[in-house]
């Protein structure tokens, strides 16, 4: 990287390294009943660096973080903070010692104000009660230090997720954190928001904070991290300078094999491109919903993968939800196989052979307390109705087939889905729909927050399904994926469909369209709910509102 701070710490192996590590973990082994999650892992974190912890799901990243923060007590090995041996009893004690963690899901109180969230549990007091004025002033000062202009008195829930994430970070550094752990902070942020986050991370790093960063986005890691530690199957693969390691080397280190799978995806996708025939499976004309997405036309043929590209809140999820009947359209019509349908509920869409994997895997996808088996057959069972249970033997066959085909682990069908890793949960969801043999499969961010191996598997599966004649709508924030898989790419911006590109479109083409369209259209067709101030009011909050009311109503 370019700045100087990285060079001072980037030579820890050099003779008499410039600084002592703030965190030094040695030979950490962590055993759970029957599982060795970590084995002899060393880890060092220096002040003033951003250090990426890399590895596939289940490699032991989270476990290592939990050992560091005292959620787990390691079976063996030592942890030193500033040269002193420590064993935190829990995250609270870790935080008191200057080790703060921000998790992937924002763990704040949405109904409290920003200031209250930042200082929750350590509010300034006066006469035994909380001094709200001082709380707000202190919060404003902290936010200002991070270069953020958020009204500390505003209610947290009014802000988009990205801002909430930044508030969580403000909360974490409010205790003069010397070590800041960011576990997948970017998985729900769009590009601008990531840039803002990185600006703040660099700012904190330059102040001497040691930042441990976990992300599945390789590009982001290369942009922000000074060094990285790679884990695989609970073991340390190595510690590298970011500049020393090419992306390909990193990926190989993470998954322990050469990455031929993605090349195969491309080949499959190209092969499938020739097979697309003209008959549309689904044809939407003037379909739209006020405040959600402006009316659009869309045709999807059998065997075709249509990619939806756009920033977070551009309307890509909203479009998908209309096609599935998850939200009700208030204009336009949908034809499936030439027959006009009213998609009033997901049920009617499913009956027409449409399937939809939501981007919100936990909130709208899996049923965490049910087994893999029950999750897998749920959609099929719902379509059959309660009175016609799927016979036990058929169920077992289905489950066995799909667990094997998609390489779902653990393969025990009685395992609760909530205990699976993100990638495996996604596979269970995919299997739930594939069991119903849909004609059109809508995938909203199917590869978010899952490891590279599973990402490649899922993309390969999509290409295969399309080759077998299934129509697929593919949504992803990772434009490479969209470009790689899609026969056509629909570009969305500000809740409007702005362009449709053919399969030869490159990532650059798509980005140029998104960028050129960005903020250039003053006549916002999405109605009064449209974003008036793009920096503060992310359209995604509107979407959240929609979802919220839906949940209340159901």
């Amino acid at each position: 990287m370019t700045d100087t701070s990285s060079t001072t710490v980037a030579e820890p192996d050099g003779p008499g390294g410039a600084a002592d590590p703030v965190v030094a973990m040695r030979a950490i082994t962590m055993e759970f009943p029957g599982v060795r999650a970590l084995q002899d892992v060393d880890f060092r974190l220096f002040p003033g660096e951003v250090h990426a912890l890399m590895g596939e799901n289940g490699a032991g990243k989270s476990t290592l973080i939990k050992v560091l923060t005292g959620v787990y007590t390691s079976t063996s090995g030592t942890t030193e903070l500033r040269g002193e041996r420590i064993a935190f009893s829990g995250p609270g004690e870790a935080q008191a010692s200057g080790v703060s963690t921000v998790y992937q899901e924002v763990n704040l109180c949405p109904n409290l104000s920003v200031a209250e969230n930042i200082l929750l549990g350590r509010e300034p007091r006066r006469f035994g009660s909380i001094d709200m004025g001082a709380t707000r002033a202190r919060a404003a000062e902290l936010l200002g230090r991070m270069g953020l202009t958020i009204d500390p008195g505003s209610i947290l829930a009014e802000h988009p997720i990205a801002i909430q994430q930044l508030v969580a970070i403000a909360r974490a550094v409010a205790v003069d954190a010397q070590v800041l752990i960011l576990d997948e902070p970017t998985s729900s942020l769009d590009q601008d928001e990531v840039a803002e986050l990185f600006r703040i991370m660099r700012h904190l790093r330059d102040e001497g904070v040691a930042i441990l960063f976990v992300s599945h986005f390789l590009e982001q890691v290369y942009e922000i991290a000074d060094r990285m530690t790679v884990l695989r199957n609970g073991r340390l693969v190595g510690e590298y300078l970011t500049t020393d390691l090419t992306r390909l080397q990193l990926v190989s280190a993470m998954i322990g094999r050469e990455l031929g799978a993605l090349a195969e995806v491309e080949r499959l996708a190209d092969a499938a491109a020739d097979d697309v025939d003209g008959t549309p499976v689904l044809e939407a004309t003037g379909l739209g919903r006020r405040g959600s997405i402006a009316p659009f036309d869309l045709r999807i043929a059998a065997g075709e993968v249509v990619g939806l590209a756009g920033l977070l809140g551009s309307g890509r999820t909203e479009l998908a939800r209309l096609l599935f009947g998850a939200d009700r359209a208030d204009s336009g019509e949908v034809r499936v196989d030439g027959r006009a349908l009213s998609l009033r509920t997901p049920r009617s869409a499913i009956a027409a052979g449409i399937a939809f994997c939501s981007e919100d895997r936990k909130g709208e996808g899996i049923l965490a307390d049910l087994s893999i088996r029950d999750n897998l057959v749920l959609a099929m069972q719902a379509a059959r109705g309660w009175a016609r249970p799927i016979p036990r033997r058929t169920k077992d066959e289905l489950v066995e087939t799909w667990v094997t085909a998609l390489d779902i682990r653990p393969s025990n069908p009685d395992a609760l889905v909530g205990t699976l890793s993100g990638g495996n949960q996604q596979k269970v969801l995919l299997a739930r729909w594939l069991v119903t043999q849909p004609r059109l499969l809508i995938l909203d961010e199917p590869t978010r927050g899952i490891d590279i191996g599973a990402k490649a598997q899922i993309q390969k599966l999509v290409a295969q399904l399309a080759a077998e004649g299934m129509a697929v709508v593919y949504i992803s924030a990772e434009l490479e994926e969209v470009a790689r898989l899609s026969h056509r790419v629909v570009v969305l911006k500000d809740r409007t469909k702005v362009a449709e590109l053919d399969g030869s479109a490159s990532v650059d083409d798509i980005m140029r369209l998104i960028a050129s369209a960005e903020g250039a259209d003053p006549t916002d067709p999405s109605g009064p709910d449209g974003p008036s101030d793009p920096t503060r009011r992310s359209p995604s909050s509107t979407h959240d509102d929609v979802v919220l009311t839906e949940q209340v109503a159901s």
Partner: protein
């Protein structure tokens, strides 16, 4: 990858029993009976006379039948993340309708009058269940508020029906429901038959799975194509029908409809029975056998308190202590602590501070034990209210 369970040997019977959620409720039930028997050996004696079984245990079954029935409906409601506070009022309405109908016919002793009374009562309960379901499933009102409406209004409706009087009926056929015997009390036979039917229908068909998935995550269920609303609506209707049947039993047992006191606070007993039985108030997985045990514990406890001659002032405290103990023993955290203690002893440092998140990336969110943790808090309120009803029932 690292998901192979440590010991793959088939768990022995002992292990399975130890791991069962029903273990502690059953232990509590047995302990209660043993304690009673130790004090009064006659407690467990049962004798057959004129084709009737007599004994304290039989009385427990007989008096516990309405609670069991209502708890049965409540189990399904709670499984969908709901709660139905109106069941006590609905029971009172059912009794009021049945008794006024029977008393109002030209021949109040005829079987026809009974049939008419029962049918009318259950039809009205069906309507009341539809109303609750309408508020919850269609309008999206929080269940506790939605059913509070009928809980408060229901007794008024019952009063209107009975004109504020206690309506007594003399009809042998009607008396059979709550006070009759077919060797065993008819009421418990009805309740057990209902329990068996529900178990059969929900577990043999896919209804149980659908109810549980709606309770675990309504939105995810909707997107998987479930008719979430219809399912939720149905469980409220079913709960009201159960309450109606229980109301018939209560009024039949005393051959009278008392709009004020019939089924008073029985909703609390029912909720408690469900929770003791291991069904979480957070919704999702439910246990019908647990509910059966829970209902029996509640009734045994009530009987115990009276038969032991515990002073009325201490009664409520005693009851709540037992309930707290059972709920604590079931709470995942406490169970985990017990297990660790047993497995490793205190010397060896072990892992599971947070037992529910032993997996690495993205296990389900914490917060499951809510139902368990919440239950002791409801206990005192419940018990404060059971005593008057029981006096009526036992006198």
């Amino acid at each position: 990858m690292s998901t192979v369970p440590g010991t793959t040997t088939a768990p022995g019977v002992l292990e399975r029993v130890r791991g069962s959620r029903l273990l502690w409720p059953v232990v509590a039930l047995v302990a209660l009976v043993v304690a009673n028997a130790a004090r009064n050996p006659g407690f467990v004696s049962i004798r057959l006379q004129d084709g009737h079984l007599y004994g304290s245990l039989v009385d427990i079954l007989k008096n516990g039948a309405p609670t069991l029935l209502i708890a049965l409906g409540m189990t399904l409601v709670i499984a969908t993340r709901g709660i139905d506070l109106s069941v006590g009022a609905v029971a009172a309405i059912a009794g009021a309708v049945a008794c006024t109908t029977i008393a109002g016919t030209t021949d109040p002793t005829s079987a026809g009058a009974v049939t008419r009374g029962i049918v009318l009562a259950l039809v009205l309960c069906l309507v009341l269940g539809l109303w609750n379901g309408f508020l919850v499933a269609l309008l999206g009102i929080q269940p506790i508020i939605a059913t509070l409406v009928l809980m408060t209004a229901g007794r008024g409706i019952a009063m209107l029906i009975t004109d504020g009087q206690i309506i007594t009926v003399r009809n042998d056929a009607f008396r059979e429901i709550g006070a009759g015997f077919l060797i065993l009390p008819v009421s418990i036979l009805i309740a057990l038959a209902a329990l068996g039917a529900v178990a059969l229908v929900t577990r043999r068909s896919a209804l149980g799975l659908l109810i549980e998935s709606v309770g675990i995550n309504p939105e995810a269920s909707r997107l998987a194509g479930l008719r979430s609303r219809t399912i939720i609506w149905t469980v409220y209707v079913f709960a009201a029908l159960c309450a109606g049947l229980a109301g018939l039993m209560i009024s039949s047992n005393v051959s009278a409809a008392d709009a004020n006191n019939a089924g008073l606070w029985i909703e609390m007993d029912a909720i408690l029975a469900v929770v003791i039985g291991g069904t979480s108030l957070a919704g999702g997985k439910y246990s019908l056998s647990g509910t059966l045990v829970g209902a029996l514990i509640i009734q045994t406890l009530t009987t115990t308190v009276y038969s032991m001659g515990i002073a009325p002032e201490v009664t409520l405290v005693f009851k709540s202590l037992v309930v707290i103990a059972v709920c604590l023993l079931q709470a995942p955290k406490v169970r985990e602590r017990f297990r660790r203690h047993r497995r490793t002893g205190p010397a060896e440092p072990t892992a599971g501070v947070a037992s529910w998140s032993a997996d690495t990336d993205g296990p389900s969110a914490p917060g499951h034990p809510v139902g368990q943790d919440a239950s002791p808090a409801t206990a005192p309120a419940t018990n404060a209210s059971t005593a008057p009803k029981q006096k009526v029932a036992q006198s």
